[in-house]
């Protein structure tokens, strides 16, 4: 991508108020997650022990979002929940994206039986709703944080394979690829040096959107009791646990629910802004 | 002299986006009399297509459009009362486009689109009657099997057939003014010539006035009574067709004619961009003044 097009993309991005809101929300959530130790009012409440003198308190000056059934500060747990969600999303994407991209490049560029095998496998994965597949995998594995991540990773790569495959298919006949082939560049070189950079805007956009969707998926698993286990603070399980005490202790599930909303919304608005700025098909 | 069906006087048009303002038309004047065929010739980006859009009152409402000057269509001011113009679209004023196939909705049958066209301007019409009139209109543009054409989707017909359909639609309601914006430029040269001749015959026999927008000099020569040459948002020369072709006066027109390929169909040749002489003032041939002006 030339510097001119990226400056056009930047201007486009800046002129969209929703993208800026997204950027601000993302910065806020990431900042709070990174500095949770400094920002959280009661860092000690991360674990299983709270302040038994202050259980089930409604939101107040001391506890902005109230306290839970064993006296833990809900705001504190939400901030650590941000951290956990973001770390999990980062790890899921750090593993699934490269795998998916590599398979997509191979399928699109090499063609033949490689293409057939990879794309049919992708079809199989995409034929099952992601949540259901992740749930099923969790059914065969013990419900732990690592396994939940593995389960989500296992069903996330096909989306990148399909995305890159489509881009490669439309780029493979472009002049610059043919030129590289004519001068005898190896397939590996053509794939990684010529084609991959052209997939970059689409991949970047999808990654941004996906941080939100992975958070959504992981918290859904936790909500069903199939993901992160207590006492680790997780937004999904907080909503599920809090729902038992509705409507009296409404703050127990409403605040974590809003936290998920804000986190996913931020990445979605940002991703949407990038998509429009890059004009990327995702 | 017959009354003009289209009068444009000192028309300015600018587009505004953010702080940027681009002036597209710098005060053009032209007119089309009832039953007259007038051509507006210029290269792409010279402002000829926006003139047609303005005449249909289609641009004035858009955000960031600044139009000044007079555009009068069949006695109504297109800038001040766009609703009046809107009510005339499709029956008193109609239009033909560059690419007939993309101008026809791909997911509707020709018959369905035609029915809608016949109801333009709120005319009440029963489906049966619409069908009968559509068939008659298609027969008139020499479509061999009108009933089958009406039951077809645009992609099932050839480009030439679609252009005939488009002509039939344009003339079906007996318009007083037809705007032809580069009609059939997207088509094969021979097909374009055929359909143009057909259009010419039909508008001549009905006495429909035509504003013919084109970049193709040879087509214009065959078709138009009078020609305006437009260059970068200014009319540079105006005369009757035979005057203009036998005695071109403006440097831009001369350059165009000198470079024009003799064969039918060549578009505008590449001209030296922005040659200074092209900015020379308007030259008007004898007897071709705008209505209300003194002959120069």
């Amino acid at each position: 991508m030339s510097s001119k097009t990226s400056s056009v993309a930047l201007t486009e991005f800046r002129s969209n108020p929703l993208s800026i809101i997204g950027l601000v929300l993302v910065a806020l959530c990431v900042g709070l997650a990174v500095f949770a130790d400094l920002v959280a009012p009661y860092p000690a409440h991360v674990g299983p022990i709270g302040d038994f003198m202050a259980i089930n308190q409604a939101p107040s000056a001391a506890h902005w979002f109230g306290t839970d059934t064993i006296g833990r500060d809900v705001l504190t747990r939400i901030l650590y929940g941000f951290r956990l969600s973001l770390v999990m999303a980062a790890m899921v994407l750090a593993i699934s994206m490269p795998i998916g991209v590599a398979l997509g490049l191979m399928a699109g560029y090499l063609g033949g039986w490689v293409e057939f095998a990879i794309m049919r496998l992708t079809d199989v994965f995409l034929a099952i709703p992601p949540l259901v597949l992740a749930m099923a995998i969790m059914g065969f594995l013990p419900a732990t944080l690592t396994n939940a991540m593995l389960a989500v990773t296992a069903m996330w790569w096909p989306w990148y394979t399909r995305l890159v495959y489509n881009v490669v298919r439309s780029e493979a006949r472009e002049g610059y690829v043919l030129a590289a082939e004519v001068i005898g560049a190896s397939p590996l070189h053509v794939m990684t040096r010529e084609i991959l950079p052209n997939c970059a805007p689409a991949i970047l956009t999808k990654l941004t959107l996906d941080v939100g969707f992975v958070v959504l998926m992981v918290s859904s698993l936790s909500f069903l009791g199939l993901g992160v286990q207590p006492p680790t603070p997780d937004l999904g399980s907080m909503v599920a646990d809090g729902a038992k005490y509705m409507p009296d202790a409404w703050w127990l599930s409403i605040f974590p629910a809003l936290a998920i909303m804000v986190l996913v919304l931020g990445f979605n608005l940002l991703g949407d802004g990038l998509r429009e700025a890059f004009d990327a098909e995702v | 002299m017959a009354d003009p069906v289209l009068t444009v006087r000192d028309l300015h048009l600018a587009f505004r986006k953010g702080r940027q303002r681009t002036e597209v038309l710098h005060g053009i004047s032209l007119h089309v009399n009832a039953g007259e065929k007038v051509a507006l010739v210029g290269e792409s980006g010279s402002g000829k297509s926006v003139t047609a859009q303005l005449a249909l009152a289609r641009l004035q409402q858009e955000k960031g459009t600044e139009a000044e000057g007079l555009i009068e269509v069949l006695g109504h001011d297109a800038t001040r009362s766009p609703a009046r113009i809107a009510a005339m679209r499709g029956h008193r004023v109609t239009m033909i486009f560059q690419d007939p196939t993309s101008a026809l909705n791909p997911v509707f049958r020709i018959g369905e689109i035609f029915e809608q066209v016949l109801r333009a301007g709120g005319q009440r019409l029963r489906a049966q009657e619409a069908r009968r009139r559509a068939e008659a209109a298609l027969a008139e543009v020499q479509i061999p099997d009108p009933a089958r054409a009406l039951d077809s989707y645009p992609f099932q017909l050839s480009g030439g057939m679609n252009q005939r359909v488009m002509i039939a639609m344009a003339l079906a309601n007996g318009p007083e003014l037809l705007l032809a914006d580069e009609p059939g430029t997207a088509l094969d040269v021979t097909v374009q010539a055929q359909t143009l001749r057909l259009m010419d015959d039909l508008v001549t026999s009905r006495g429909t006035a035509v504003l013919f927008i084109s970049h193709n000099l040879s087509v214009v020569r065959e078709f138009a009574d009078r020609v305006y040459v437009i260059y970068r948002g200014r009319i540079v020369e105006h005369g009757r067709t035979e005057q203009l072709f036998s005695d071109p006066r403006h440097p831009y027109t001369k350059a165009l004619l000198a470079a024009a390929p003799r064969l039918l169909g060549g578009g505008l040749p590449d001209l030296p961009q922005g040659a200074e002489a092209f900015a020379d003032p308007l030259l008007v041939h004898d007897g071709c003044a705008e209505p209300g002006e003194v002959t120069a």
Partner: protein, 343 residues
């Protein structure tokens, strides 16, 4: 053979292939995981002989590929195995729980189409003006919020704070379920003329279906909007306007139908995604659907049942896409009349 039929057969064959792939995938995942299913099924107190007997009965001692063969043979006979949790055939269990889920998903799908499409159309007509910005923001919000969060919020607001809607369940206590014909309470009640029961069932459906539909509504509004905006730039819309077609008619019909074609395919995917999200919503509203069963068998490591649930959901996912393909090919004459092309 008509082109639609040919297309349908082609897609059906492809879907069966994918379904076979899903069965292989899920079967092998189920078998390679650590832990002896027979041991898990019988619990830690069972004797070694009992475990061995069950392993033999379930062909667990055979090589994997042979096991898959047994699995396929049973599947062909409509046998998805037996649930170790309910001790009933898995298919029978699924048949009992599925209708409640389907009813929920159908209503939510209906909401998605009836609200989402007009909303997107409205936004496209007022592009970059008030209603558009509002619709865009709301749809992004809807897309970004997991169904269970909507469930919790709706429940708090409309069942607790303002008790307009029932809190949970399919029917009020004291209302007898209608005779089991389709398993969909609203339909069964209607078929047997029990209008009171039908209204009661519908009343219970509104909140969970809304929670389930919201993200789909947002998604479909968003898609319709962008598709409509693209269509509005097409020459045939310029033609329609030049010929005085009414702006409202263009929005409802002339631009809407072509814009619908790309939208529908994605809508099918969204509808199918509701099958998964139903798991979350059912949990919030204590809805006796497939989710309750699914989560239960997952927590109990009930292998046959898990495989069965995944297969059934994958099959419904594929059927949905098949139906969408069919609708698209009916709307899109290019597909329907493909063979006449170039005449």
């Amino acid at each position: 053979m008509s082109p639609i039929l040919r297309l349908l057969i082609h897609r059906l064959a492809l879907s069966l292939l994918v379904l076979a792939g899903v069965s292989i995938l899920i079967f092998f995942v189920a078998r390679v995981v650590p832990g002896d299913p027979a041991r898990i099924a019988l619990g830690p107190n069972a004797g070694a002989e009992a475990v061995e007997a069950l392993r033999e009965e379930r062909h667990l001692n055979d090589p994997l590929i042979v096991q898959y063969g047994w699995f396929l043979r049973d599947l062909a006979g409509g046998d998805l195995g037996t649930s170790l949790y309910t001790r009933r055939p898995v298919l029978q269990d699924i048949a009992a729980y599925l209708p409640a889920t389907l009813e929920l998903v159908f209503i939510a799908g209906l909401m998605m189409v009836l609200v989402g499409l007009p909303l997107g159309r409205l936004a496209a007509r007022h592009q970059r003006r008030g209603p558009d910005h509002l619709a865009r923001f709301l749809s992004v919000l809807a897309v970004c919020t997991p169904a269970f969060v909507w469930g919790v919020i709706l429940q708090l607001l409309l069942a607790y704070v303002w008790p307009i809607f029932p809190l949970e369940g399919r029917l009020s206590t004291g209302v007898a379920p209608p005779p089991d014909i389709t398993g969909l309470y609203t339909v069964d009640a209607l078929l047997t003329g029990q209008f009171g029961t039908m209204l009661n069932a519908l009343y219970h459906l509104i909140l969970p279906a809304t929670a389930l539909a919201l993200s789909g509504i947002g998604q479909s509004a968003r898609l319709t909007r962008s598709s409509m905006i693209e269509t509005y730039r097409k020459p045939y819309i310029e033609m329609a306007r030049a010929y005085g077609f009414k702006e409202g008619r263009i929005a409802r019909r002339y631009a809407f139908r072509p814009a619908l074609i790309p939208t529908l395919t994605v809508l099918g995917l969204d509808f199918a995604a509701m099958l998964a999200n139903a798991f979350l919503v059912e949990r919030v509203f204590v809805w006796p659907g497939l989710s309750r069963y699914g989560v239960e068998v997952i927590l109990r490591k009930d292998l046959d049942a898990i495989v069965g649930v995944v297969l059934v959901i994958a099959a419904m996912f594929l059927i949905t896409n098949l139906v969408v393909d069919l609708i698209v090919s009916i709307i899109n004459p290019r597909l329907r009349l493909a063979e006449k092309r170039g005449k």
